[in-house]
């Protein structure tokens, strides 16, 4: 299946995603669990980031498949993503009513804040680079000093999610 259909299923499962950063982290984590979006992620200031995903969201919006509307978020503007009717019809036509694999995980993640997801997806990213134990902690705290005090808590969340939602679990 291609990425737009899976994103359509994702938006069907969670209704809306608030914030571009949150969208990036949500998809990174879902991909980590095996949802085949197929995006390549690199590491950046706010954690795992895919410029491919960024470009694709832009082109999906220009094709009228998704809607990105400005919402007020304190002093700043955030962006709310929803599926347009054209995407819902496309998903219905091509996938039917099959729900997203990991829909429950997507909903659980979407209920968390963007910052929480940033920390969790960074932990998964560093683990995939081969970092474990004290090396993982040192690397995480060097890259994300603002989250150093909640490292153990976020690590526990990351592990709990894996226990609860991994295919092998």
């Amino acid at each position: 299946m291609n990425s737009i259909l899976i994103i359509g299923q994702l938006l069907e499962a969670v209704a809306t995603v608030e914030g571009r950063k949150k969208f990036q982290k949500l998809i990174h984590i879902l991909q980590h669990f095996g949802v085949p979006f197929g995006f390549r992620f690199g590491y950046l200031h706010y954690g795992p980031y895919s410029s491919e995903l960024d470009s694709q969201l832009e082109s999906f919006e220009s094709e009228g498949l998704i809607k990105e509307e400005a919402v007020s978020a304190g002093p700043y503007q955030s962006y709310r993503f929803t599926a347009q009717e054209s995407l819902r019809s496309l998903v219905k036509k091509l996938v039917g009513v099959t729900p997203l694999e990991f829909a429950a995980l997507a909903q659980e993640l979407n209920a968390k804040s963007a910052q929480e997801l940033e920390a969790i997806s960074t932990i998964y990213y560093l683990q995939t680079s081969g970092k474990q134990g004290s090396e993982l902690k040192a690397s995480f705290c060097a890259l994300k000093p603002k989250f150093a005090s909640v490292y153990e808590e976020r690590l526990k969340s990351a592990r709990d999610l894996e226990k609860k939602h991994s295919k092998a679990a």
Binding site: I4, R40, S78, Y79, S129, G130, S139
Partner: protein, 462 residues
């Protein structure tokens, strides 16, 4: 060793120098992991379209080292050894050089093509990091012997290094990797699109501080263009990238050969999983296809292009019935017999989704007779003006070429703020292609699928 620098002759840079004191680079070049890059071509199957494109990741990596060395030298001269920037360069310069040299050690045979065949292999940066730190690799020992930390080198390659401007030299929109591959690919393909003024560009680099758009976080010291001195050569680099992408990297004939090999590799994987690959296939190649590229690092190191091409020679000669497609595709590739037809389709995400779904529904048996190739390309990614600050900053930090007034405390600004060329090439109107490649015997299915569309997309067979 005498104090005479060791040099490599290179068609792009003339002489690539290894200075006395940097002998560790020779040790790294001599590792099995680096020598393997002699057997991985830089441009996969582009040699089918451009016969000269036989250059490898090995000579590209030496070129990246050369450009990285020149950038480090220039920054050290500019800021002085006693400045805080100079001290960081002194402290980490050898790690940056090692990272520049080793950044592609995680590339599999046929480079990005194999990543398209087996998405689990689409992580060459992670693989490169593991090659640098992994217990089965000889690289970490070589680094350690020379007083370098493997983890630091791996962090630079994996974009997880705390001193961002040093990482930028190896991995950014203005990095030594891009500066080398555009010139090298243009030279070996024989096209003139990839040309830009490397000498001027390197000498117009400096540092600047990119400030986050929210109050959270400190500014990042980044590699920048110096004022407007380097703007025109950076614009040339961007144009080079745009033209090389359309004319070389996404050339429809090259992509036809990629489609050919994608079908061949998937067929080899299918047969390996059914235990039906020809018996004399190399065990490492068999294992690689059996696991669709997701092999451990010890197997990965042993799989190179000669091994796979050698297997194709064997496969081409099999007359057994289960090997019909494998033999056909192998023989046709080895002898450059064009067997795939092409149909251009309307390049939208929705159309791609519809074609892919309908073609996939035809079943696994036919899966290796077609390849749907959707290409969206942006030479330069500009952030949207209205993004929430963190997301906008992320896009600027990830993709922008930056400019400053030359002092490391001066603000780094995205170059698109002063360049209409960057604004245009970073705008929404970008090249897109949707091409369907298929074997002649599959054409009847293509015709049937097209009839299922209410309004068939305008298209033509080639």
């Amino acid at each position: 060793m005498s104090n005479r620098p060791r040099v490599f002759r290179d068609p792009i840079h003339g002489l690539i120098r290894i200075d006395p004191g940097d002998e560790f680079l020779l040790d790294l070049i001599d590792t099995d992991e680096f020598q393997r890059l002699r057997r991985v071509r830089q441009l996969g199957v582009s040699n089918m379209t451009y016969p000269g494109a036989e250059h490898t990741r090995f000579n590209h990596s030496l070129g990246v080292l050369h450009v990285a060395q020149r950038i480090l030298e220039m920054l050290e001269r500019r800021y002085g050894r006693d400045s805080s920037e100079g001290r960081l360069i002194s402290e980490h310069g050898r790690s940056v050089k090692a990272a520049a040299l080793l950044h592609d050690t995680g590339h599999g045979a046929f480079s990005h093509l194999m990543e398209r065949a087996f998405p689990d292999t689409a992580e060459h940066e992670h693989r490169s990091q593991r090659m640098i730190v992994g217990p089965e690799s000889s690289i970490p020992q070589t680094l350690k012997k020379n007083g370098l930390k493997a983890a630091t080198v791996a962090d630079i390659v994996g974009k997880q290094f705390e001193h961002r401007f040093l990482q930028d030299i190896v991995s950014s929109s203005l990095d030594a990797d891009r500066m080398d591959y555009l010139l090298r690919d243009a030279h070996f393909t024989g096209v003139r699109y990839g040309i830009y003024d490397l000498e001027w560009l390197v000498n117009a680099l400096c540092l600047g501080t990119l400030k986050p758009l929210t109050e959270e976080g400190e500014g990042l010291l980044r590699l920048c263009l110096d004022g407007k001195r380097g703007l025109h050569s950076a614009e040339q680099l961007l144009m080079a990238r745009q033209h090389m992408s359309v004319q070389v990297y996404f050339h429809k004939s090259t992509r036809r050969w990629e489609a050919h090999l994608l079908c061949l590799f998937r067929e080899a994987a299918r047969l390996a999983q059914e235990g039906k690959l020809p018996e004399a296939t190399l065990p490492t190649v068999r294992e690689y296809f059996l696991r669709m590229g997701a092999v451990d690092d010890s197997i990965f190191r042993q799989v190179d292009e000669p091994g796979i091409i050698g297997s194709m020679s064997l496969w081409a000669n099999s007359s057994k019935k289960p090997h019909r497609l494998l033999a056909l595709l192998s023989g046709a590739y080895l002898n450059r017999q064009k067997v795939f037809k092409m149909k251009e389709l309307s390049a939208t995400a929705a159309n791609e989704a519809e074609w892919r779904t309908k073609l996939t529904a035809l079943g696994e048996k036919l899966r290796n007779s077609w390849e749907l190739d959707y290409i969206t390309f942006t030479a330069y990614k500009m952030p949207k003006t209205g993004d929430e600050p963190e997301a906008k900053f992320q896009t600027i930090a990830a993709n922008s070429i930056l400019m400053s007034e030359g002092g490391s405390n001066d603000a780094a600004i995205p170059v698109q703020e002063v360049s209409p060329i960057f604004r245009t090439l970073g705008g929404p109107e970008q090249p897109r292609f949707l091409r369907l490649y298929f074997l002649p015997e599959f054409e009847k299915h293509v015709i049937k699928v097209e009839k299922q569309f209410i309004a068939p997309a305008s298209s033509k067979l080639k």
